[in-house]
């Protein structure tokens, strides 16, 4: 049995812990960071993600704002997973995460604590909460690319 199915309580704890003690939480005022604001008309989540890239490496990640338990925990966990990672590795984690959301086979190894969201698709309306951070990261990469081209 995969680890994820056997450890429901543990997975739940990961969400609660990251919700109550968000990692890399804070705001920086520094132009070398790309800042992405994730909010929408339909939900109350209001989360800012700040990423500093140095060549193709994620040198630093900070985030702040408010949201539901799922979106806050997701952003906290993502920030830990990608801090110091190469862009292509972060994109790979994102790919596996999206597969998990879609209910497809995925590589549990690369997801780390993000495995705690394995059941989110039981409540399909909440997938957008669980992937808000990843959607934000994708936007940050696009912004960064634009910056490189000017």
């Amino acid at each position: 049995m995969p680890f994820s199915l056997d450890h429901q309580e543990l997975l739940r704890e990961i969400i609660v812990d990251n919700y109550q003690h968000p990692r890399n939480f804070g705001e920086v005022n520094d132009d070398s960071y790309v800042t992405i604001h994730m909010d929408s008309a339909s939900c109350i989540d209001d989360i800012y993600i700040q990423v500093k890239m140095v060549s193709d490496k994620i040198e630093d990640v900070k985030w702040h704002g408010t949201g539901c338990a799922i979106s806050m925990a997701s952003t906290s966990i993502m920030s830990e997973l990608i801090l110091g990672a190469k862009k292509e590795d972060a994109l790979n984690i994102m790919k596996e995460f999206n597969k998990m959301m879609a209910g497809e086979d995925f590589d549990e190894e690369v997801l780390g604590d993000a495995i705690c969201f394995i059941n989110v698709n039981r409540q399909p309306s909440r997938i957008t909460c669980a992937n808000i951070s990843w959607r934000g990261l994708q936007k940050a990469f696009l912004e960064e690319e634009k910056k490189e081209h000017v």
Partner: protein
Amino acid sequence: MRLDPYLLRKDFPMYSKHDSSFEGKPLVYLDNCATSFKPQCVIDACNHYYEDITANTRRGDYSLAHQADKAYDEARATVAKFLNAKDSKEIVFTSGDTFGMNMAAYGLLPLLKEGDEILLSPSEHASNVLPWFEVAKLSKAKITYVELDEENRITLENYQKALTSKTKIVSLASVGNVLGYAIDVKKFVSLAHEVGALYIDDAAQSVAHKKSDVQDSDVDILVFSGHKMLGPTGIGTLYGKMSVLEKMKPLFYGGEMNARFKRDGYLTLDDIPERFEAGTQNVAGALGLAKACEYLSSIGFDAIEEHEAMLRKRAIEGLKKNGNAIIYNENSDTGIVTFNIKDVFAQDVATYLSSKGVFVRSGQHCAKILPEYLKTQGTVRASFYIYNTIEDVDTFIAACATAEDFLDAFFS
């Protein structure tokens, strides 16, 4: 007479076709402010157009088209009667409340000038705020607000303070969609008229729950959607006093709203209300809406109000007994209960309730100025209607009691 929700459920396929359940659990639908279920008679009325009398209205010389015209005119007359309008020409069909509010705001734009005031409240829905923001920008008129009291109600006293000789338009929801407070429309209208302002009633949340009488209240414009009052989606009404409609400029231009036009730009408009109904209309929707008006009238608004008040009282008592809720509108006037569970984010509560088959809304409910006053980002809203039962309330309360375990929605 008392209303019997169990009997009424037989009329609603959302219950009768599915044994009152959804995904294997009893269906506890408490998001009636967002939209209501539809009785079979409304669905049949729409289908009647598609199955029996399909033809475009107001342009065919053949008898089939005449039948469609007749049905559409009768629908207009039925809505007029429902609102107690003087003349069915005062009924303009729209695609819904949002459309109606835009039609009103842009329609009245030519009457506004720099320095005029448009009076709103901080609890208004986006659809009764944003069209006015745009119109204020174009006319250089100013948006002003009635302050809310400590219960976040619009009081007569604060309203009087906010009305000035510069107020040209007052636009308020007769029942607010977040807290469900009702205002004394008739009194508010008479005060607006004293300063020479036009009064617009956003009746999206009141038509389904309270008797509307436009002659008695003397509102200048009243706007609502069909889908919140048992009618179809995509249809609504703008009622306007004839003298006001005569001053309004159409928002949309095209077929069936003009009388004549020439290559040099010469244009004469069609009569009222046709000049406000450009293009092919939602005839099926209009027939469904008219049927919904008849259905509601047959139940009677006294019975509806009594039923909603009973459910709401039970819900408030239950939430208080649970002890973990913050209630924002304990003394509300309609079947809306707005609350939070202590230390749980509103959306997490809604998902948890959903996992128990209880469907409520969470968020800001499109009234994005109000959270400043409620001192919370979002709330959970349960809204009751005619087909909700005591059992619905009890299931809802039982689910709220354990909402701290909201992650159970994903685990267990």
